[in-house]
């Protein structure tokens, strides 16, 4: 099983293949299609991430001390962004999720999405994944 860092590096390498923003966005949109989709019953107000212009739902479940994320969004760029995050953080131990940094977002040329004022809520998404990690970590203890 790869570590978060290894997966992040893998994603960065993938994005390095592209020369311009358009190809990077196209790749991100492609990645959105591979997102493990949240079950309809979990598309609740509670699982909706605040601070996004589009809707983003994230659900977390614990399997063998690892957090498994599923998600969805009504906008496909947002779906691509959450897919990148889920790929890096899903199937990981809550402690590892909490310790992970997000430099790879910058490295794949999506730095502008990291601004807290950006309406897509990438920062809120990361925060939400980490909140789940905190919540489930408490359960483990």
């Amino acid at each position: 099983m790869s570590t978060i860092k290894e997966i992040q590096d893998e994603i960065v390498e993938e994005f390095e293949l592209f020369d311009d923003w358009m190809q990077r966005y196209e790749h991100m949109i492609e990645l959105g299609k591979s997102l493990p989709l949240i079950e309809e019953k979990y598309k609740t107000e509670e699982n909706l991430i605040k601070g996004c212009q589009s809707k983003v739902w994230v659900h977390a479940e614990m399997e063998d001390e690892k957090l498994v994320f599923t998600a969805d969004s009504d906008a496909i760029i947002t779906k691509g962004i959450i897919a990148i995050l889920v790929r890096a953080y899903s199937n990981q131990h809550p402690n590892d999720i909490l310790e992970a940094d997000n430099k790879f977002i910058d490295e794949i040329g999506l730095k502008e999405h990291l601004s807290p004022t950006r309406a897509n809520g990438l920062v809120s998404m990361i925060k939400q994944l980490k909140m789940y990690a905190i919540a489930y970590k408490t359960q483990l203890n």
């Binding site: 923003w21 966005y25 212009q53 809707k55 496909i76 760029i77 947002t78 309406a119 897509n120």
Partner: protein
Amino acid sequence: MKVATEKAHFDVESIRKDFPILSRKVNGYPLVYLDNAATSQTPQQVINSITNYYSQYNSNIHRGVHSLSQEATDAYEQARIKIQKHFNAEKSNEIIFTSGTTHAINLVASGFTSLLEKGDELVVSALEHHSNIVPWQMLCERTGAIMKVIPMNEHGMLDLAEYENLLSEKTKLVFINHVSNALGTVNPVQKIIEKAHAAGAAVLLDGAQAAPHIKADVQALDVDFYVVSAHKMCGPTGVGILYGKEEWLNKLPPYQGGGEMIATVTFEKTTYADLPHKFEAGTPNISGGIAFGDALDYMNTIGFDKIAAYEQELLEYATEKLLKIEGLRIYGVSEEKTAVISFNIGEIHPYDIGTIIDKLGIAVRTGHHCAQPVMDYYKIPGTVRASFAFYNTKAEIDTFVEALEKAKKMLS
């Protein structure tokens, strides 16, 4: 003999030179700024006005005996007169400087607290911006008054027959936007005001979206309150005005307490200053007020008739071009519209379109435009809104349409 059928020449290229921001690049592309309904850009003349204030005569107004304070006070009061003349108010003390439209609406809503009783009715339209809904909802919570809503139709127009049904002797106030921010619909305000007055109700018009395109004459409209923001009409942010008929402004109690708004203060009792100062507590946005006056001078020099004619030309051109994009639907197709086009393309989320075309240097607004009831009516999460100003060009519209085609291809 040559027949003069050509449209009057509008020298947009020379106008564009007044706006330094229009020559910058965004994400490597020349900026195409189509978010004018959110805020307009600022001409050098207005930038100079602000710079000149801070480099030549910055000082506090209305109280200093020194020369700078006199100069600043004169310039500020001169701006009030320019604004009075622009909107054709009868008196300059009917112009209250505020921080903008939202502040002006809150001022009036707060003032009506003591004028309403439980069961009184207020009438609003389904087309409103949240800032012309929420302050009145808060007023209803304070007073027990009830809010009634004029419905809209599929074209984004208000149902006037239903409006008349809503009016009664219980109606105390009607508040409506002159132009809808989300759709650009120009509302039939003259009729709305006449009917309200016949029922004995006062009318507040939110002119934020109208003022950049239409020169409103408050006396001809016979409107009781008219509110605007400077930053939508080439002025700076953080300043706007409340126009109110003198008799109404005298009826409303002061909004905020502080300096400037008093006549005498003792710990037992304070008496308030006359209009307009009664509503202008504290040091105002002095440079902003002065620059607002200069922004009006700038626009009036070009001429509102010419601006309106040119913007309509842009609106028609853009509408025609946009409708050629397959799957594109325009929301708000009222016959009388300002240069605003709210639309979606197929099932594509407006946020996705906005993000892609931003990478191509194009600024538009996406989302619910602070008018959720309008979006709920159409059962959509939001729209892409392109809003044009007199400094936009047909070439920019072409660039915009090409970018939309590109985005559509990527996102479908």
